[in-house]
Amino acid sequence: MEHDRTIPQWETEDTPVSPARRGFLMLAAASGAAISVGRSAAAFTDVPFAAADLDDDSLIGMYRTILQIRWHERRQADEMLSNPDYRGYNHFYAGQEAVATGVCAALRNSGPREQLDLVYSSHRPSGHAIAKGVDIPKMVAEMDFRATGMNGGYGAEMHISDPDVGFIGADGMIGPAPVIASGSAFAFRARGSDQVAVVFAGDGNYAAPHFHSTLNNAKLLDLPLIYVCENNLYHQYAHYSLSCPHEDIASAAAAYGITAETVDGQDVVQVYNAAKRAVDRARAGNGPTFIEAKTYRYYNHWGAPGAKVGELGAFGYDPLAITHFRPEKELRAWMQRDPVDISRRILADWGVMDAARAAEIEDEVKAEIEAAFEWALSQPLCTPEDGLRHVFAEGTVPARQFG
């Protein structure tokens, strides 16, 4: 295990160079440096810069999505820290927003069900959900167990799901989701559809036996599956080097003969470009892609009501929540490369928006999120007896708790 366990390595010499859309941008210069993408990274000069060809609205849409994810969480954290009636919890996504945003921007997120691309999420789903286009107020309501929430209060954070936008949903388990996603990809191929299936999974998922099944069968059957590995370096209290002998998890996928690349997960443009290549490949019938996004989460593994502002182990945005297993300097180094900042800087550099417009958008997003919480937290709670519904498609099961 020769992994660097302290801070991400800034390597200036092999930084990918993006020929800018309306100028020329050295991302490295703009952001300090791009993270090392390892030996298995695709040669960036060989491929078109898909993001650079997007229209302004789409680019601004990505920026907006990143902000929605960020502000949903900040708003929720406020709720947890200050509202004694609030009950929702979250596996925070702050720091990783560019991954979900970049990937989902390359997908079909609306239209008839039989054309939607499907996203399988992890136990850390709210970012993926927002990026895939779920109704934010309904999601907020679900996370606080409201009867009118996205899933009627049955699922809460770890099981949010909205098939209407192709968001198959969260999965509280480590292991099964990628295999199941490969089954959706199998179905697409079998019925001759050009849909793709995407699964987001953490570095923790690498060690699960399901990892092998997923990649092996995706390769054997040439499935339109995109496996997005969000390597945020830790699974709960453990660094990924404890469970994975590869420095780049992508090399594990490459061993199966699957196209695999690592990207800087803090840079939405890099993520989008990789996703676009993967989606094009899958739609053309050329099989699976594995994308390892190097990223980092700012908060603790998980946050819930009851934590106190400023207390060690709380998940407050500021001061930082730093526990012993994650060195403070590592966290601070990653925060220097914040996905919000990077996306804002890129769009500014490309002339897509200026600082004033950027601030305006942020205010719009804040207001939108504020309204979502206001609506959600005024929604009705669930009816106890409804717990007997939705076991099967029809009917209810008998109550048994009364003997």
Partner: protein, 322 residues
């Protein structure tokens, strides 16, 4: 209508559904989806529907079961045939994901999938993992999954149609020892409901309840008992989840005597549930339970055949409460 074997009847249903729905898929492992029957065309799903819809990859039953689940979530009906050796490999995904997903999504997840899970033929001589009959209980405890266990070719076909058409995930247990059964089975599609037990013989002195591979044993025993003048009602559970309490209770209310017959291990065999439901609802019932002991089946035919409940043991147990 013609005399058909078990597997031919089942594949006839699958073939029909796959013809109706061009999106439907089938995943297999050891057992190619091929069946023949005297005087009937050979059914071969692989050649008829092609290797895009009908696939065989490696020995990975968890992938098979998970893949059909993913296909179902993507809107494609899907079924897989899990050989008995792998019968519990997909247990976790069925129990923890499929069984909970409809509820956890507040009704948004639809899973029109069928896992055909083979149980061994309980062939004497194989022992351990190659001769056990126990999956009925494991799968039966799972909520959110309909678990059925046909005991005749007719039911096997009708339950397969119903299972494939259901938006609920279905564990379709197949006791492979029944493969040799044949009976008159209609050619056209028909459904056997996913929530009804069948009264195979009506009677008033004693209720015998069994399922799957226990049924031939129960029926043979009932015949012997009838010959002795006992009026025995025989119920084939057919559906383990949701178990048809009404049929059981109605019968036991009449006979006041209940004998359950299982090839599954005694502790928490399906019969335990039958007995509990009966006595919760009817007072003064005499009960007895015949099952495989709580021991892995030994290979030696001498040991195994002594341990596996047969008609004679059932007859004797019945006499004890008649």
């Amino acid at each position: 209508m013609a005399m058909k074997s078990w597997m031919y009847s089942v594949l006839e249903a699958v073939q029909h559904e796959m013809q109706e729905d061009p999106a439907m898929t089938w995943i297999f492992e050891l057992t190619p989806p091929v069946a023949s029957n005297p005087g009937r065309p050979v059914i071969n799903l692989e050649t008829e529907f092609g290797r895009k819809r009908v696939v065989n990859t490696g020995i990975d039953e968890n992938w098979m079961a998970s893949a059909v689940l993913g296909a179902g979530l993507a809107g494609s009906k899907s079924a897989t045939y899990i050989p008995y050796q792998g019968a519990c490999m997909p247990f976790e995904v069925i129990q923890n994901v499929a069984g909970k997903l409809r509820s956890m999504t507040g009704g948004k997840a639809s899973m029109p999938v069928v896992w055909i899970i083979e149980m061994t033929g309980q062939t004497p001589g194989f022992g351990g993992q190659h001769s056990c009959y126990e999956e009925d209980s494991y799968y039966m405890h799972i909520p959110g999954v309909r678990t059925v266990i046909p005991s005749t070719p007719y039911d096997a076909k009708g339950l397969m149609h119903a299972a494939i058409r259901s938006p609920d995930p279905v564990v379709y247990l197949y006791p492979a020892g029944l493969r040799t059964l044949t009976e008159d089975v209609p050619d056209e599609a028909y459904e056997v409901p996913l929530d009804k037990a069948a009264v195979r013989i009506e009677g008033s002195d004693l209720t015998i309840v069994s399922s799957g591979a226990g049924m031939p044993v129960a029926l043979e025993a009932a015949e012997t008992l009838a010959g002795e003048g006992a009026s025995v009602e025989v119920i084939d559970l057919r559906v383990l989840k949701e178990m048809d309490t009404e049929t059981i209770v109605n019968s036991v209310a009449k006979t006041k005597r209940l004998l359950t017959v299982d090839q599954s291990y005694y502790t928490l065999c399906p019969g335990a549930e039958v007995i509990a439901r009966a006595v919760e609802n009817v007072d003064g019932v005499k009960v007895k339970r015949v099952a495989f002991p709580d021991a892995p089946p030994p290979a030696s035919p001498e040991m195994f055949l002594w341990m596996r409940p047969g008609p004679q043991q059932v007859v004797e147990a019945a006499r004890a409460i008649l």
